[in-house]
Structures are given as structure tokens and as C-alpha cells.
């Protein structure tokens, strides 16, 4: 259940960097090739950013942005995998972790390709634990409620 939104400025407010979707001869960090086919060099965006962040040939702002997004992803997935649920069976826990990975990857995509549409909210679980989650600024940000 999501509570009222709270601005979390570490990614949204400071960046001017937007990830590229198409690779170039000197730039492999994109999910699609020039002919529109999928770039199979990386399994997913998270794996791509993990390589980008340690690539010293890339500009500092690009690597910094990738690092911030990866921090969010790692925290998000760890929260799901380390969340203590004695009532759940192993299958349910694994299913939840896979779901968190998929949801986390979706958030990573939004943060990397659409930084202007990123809005952080605090989600509160039934047991009272809270977590920062990414939502669409367009639909869940302060402007969305004013119209």
C-alpha cells in the first residue's frame, strides 16, 4: 500500500542525463541495435548499467547516474529478499523476489530513459516497514493531483 508521496531528490532533481536506446559505433550501452533489433550483449538493463558504472571511458555524470540507479535497484531487491516472512513458504518468497527483480528492472528503465517522469513514493507494508518506490511523476506526482 502506498502512502502520500514524498520527494526523494537524489535521482530526479539533479540529473540532466538521459539514457540512450540505440547503440552507436562508439557507444554500446543501449538496449537496441541501429537496425532496431535487441542488443543481446547484456541480459538486461541492470547488467548493462553494472558494466557501465565501472567503464572509466564513460563520462562521470553518466556513470554517476548509473550508480544512483543501481543503488536504488540493489536496495529495492534486497528489501524483498531480506524481508522476514515466517508465514510464507520458500516458493512464495522466491516468487516475491522474482517479482521485485522484474519491478525493479521496470523502475530502472524509467529512471534511465525517462528521468523527467520519475517520482519517489514511500510504500508502507502491512507490517509497518517502509520502502522507497518509483512511480510515474505524470500520474502520481504533485501535478497529477492538481488537475
Amino acid at each position: 500500500m502506498k502512502s502520500a508521496g514524498c520527494m526523494h531528490g537524489r535521482v530526479q532533481s539533479e540529473t540532466t542525463f538521459t539514457g540512450r536506446k540505440i547503440v552507436a559505433p562508439d557507444y554500446p550501452y543501449a538496449p537496441f541495435n541501429e537496425d532496431g533489433t535487441e542488443n543481446t550483449r547484456w541480459k538486461n538493463l541492470v547488467e548493462m548499467l553494472t558494466e557501465l558504472v565501472v567503464d572509466e571511458s564513460r563520462p562521470a555524470d553518466e556513470r554517476g547516474r548509473a550508480a544512483e540507479i543501481l543503488k536504488y535497484y540493489a536496495e529495492y531487491v534486497k528489501h524483498a529478499s531480506e524481508h522476514h516472512r515466517p508465514e510464507a513458504c520458500q516458493e512464495e518468497i522466491e516468487s516475491d523476489i522474482r517479482l521485485a527483480e522484474a519491478s525493479g528492472e521496470f523502475d530502472v528503465g524509467r529512471m534511465w530513459f525517462k528521468p523527467d517522469d520519475v517520482w519517489f513514493q514511500t510504500a508502507t507494508a502491512k507490517d509497518g516497514t517502509t520502502q522507497q518506490v518509483v512511480v510515474s511523476k505524470k500520474y502520481h506526482g504533485p501535478q497529477a493531483h492538481q488537475s
Binding site: V53, V54, A67, Y73, A74, V77, K78, S81
Partner: protein
């Protein structure tokens, strides 16, 4: 009122054998040996032989039963070992969330270190 049938446990084979041996001992101590005594001695000898045979059979049955249990326990151990092996292999083959997250954390640590080096 219903008639209740009381159940009695018969003497054990060991006790019966003990009694038969005592009888044989008593017959051995007799000073006079007539036909009746010889017949009784033969009877006691048969009792002893039968009881010994029954005890051996009972023991063999118990050993057989225990061997079967041991065999089944061994096959269960083998089955569990195979299950552990297959589960371990499946776990190793599965790209775990933990390893992915730790790869990210290592990359972030490397990034932070390189950032610190440039300052």
C-alpha cells in the same frame, strides 16, 4: 452382562527351554532308569530340540526384519543423497538474486573507489 475373555500371555520360549532343561537335569539325577523314565527323557529331549529350533527361527526372523529395515534405511540415505546433489546443482545453476546484487555492490564500490582516486 457380557462375558469377558481374559487373555494370557504364554510362557516365552526362553522360559519353556529353561523348564525343559531343569526337567532333563531332574531326570538325569534319578538313580533308577526304567522304560517310563527313558520315555520321559526322550520327550524332554524332543522338547529341548523343538524349543531350540523355534528360538533359532525366531532369531532368524528378527535378523531378517532388521536387515530389511537396514536395507530400506540405506536406500533412503542414497535417495536423499541424490536429492541433495540435484538440489545443490540446481541452486548452483540458478542465477541467484544475491549474486546479482553483490555484483552490483562490487561495481558500485569500484566506482566509488575510482571517484575517490580522482578527487
Amino acid at each position: 452382562m457380557e462375558e469377558t475373555h481374559k487373555r494370557f500371555r504364554g510362557k516365552s520360549l526362553a522360559v519353556q527351554l529353561q523348564v525343559a532343561l531343569r526337567d532333563a537335569e531332574a531326570l538325569q539325577k534319578l538313580e533308577t532308569t526304567d522304560d517310563a523314565t527313558i520315555s520321559r527323557m526322550k520327550l524332554v529331549q524332543s522338547r529341548i530340540s523343538s524349543l531350540t529350533l523355534m528360538m533359532n527361527r525366531k532369531r532368524a526372523d528378527q535378523v531378517h526384519k532388521l536387515n530389511e529395515q537396514l536395507k530400506s534405511a540405506k536406500s533412503e540415505i542414497e535417495r536423499l543423497k541424490l536429492e541433495i546433489e540435484s538440489l545443490t546443482a540446481a541452486l548452483a545453476a540458478k542465477p541467484s538474486t544475491i549474486s546479482q546484487v553483490s555484483a552490483i555492490e562490487q561495481a558500485l564500490a569500484k566506482f566509488e573507489a575510482s571517484k575517490g582516486g580522482k578527487l
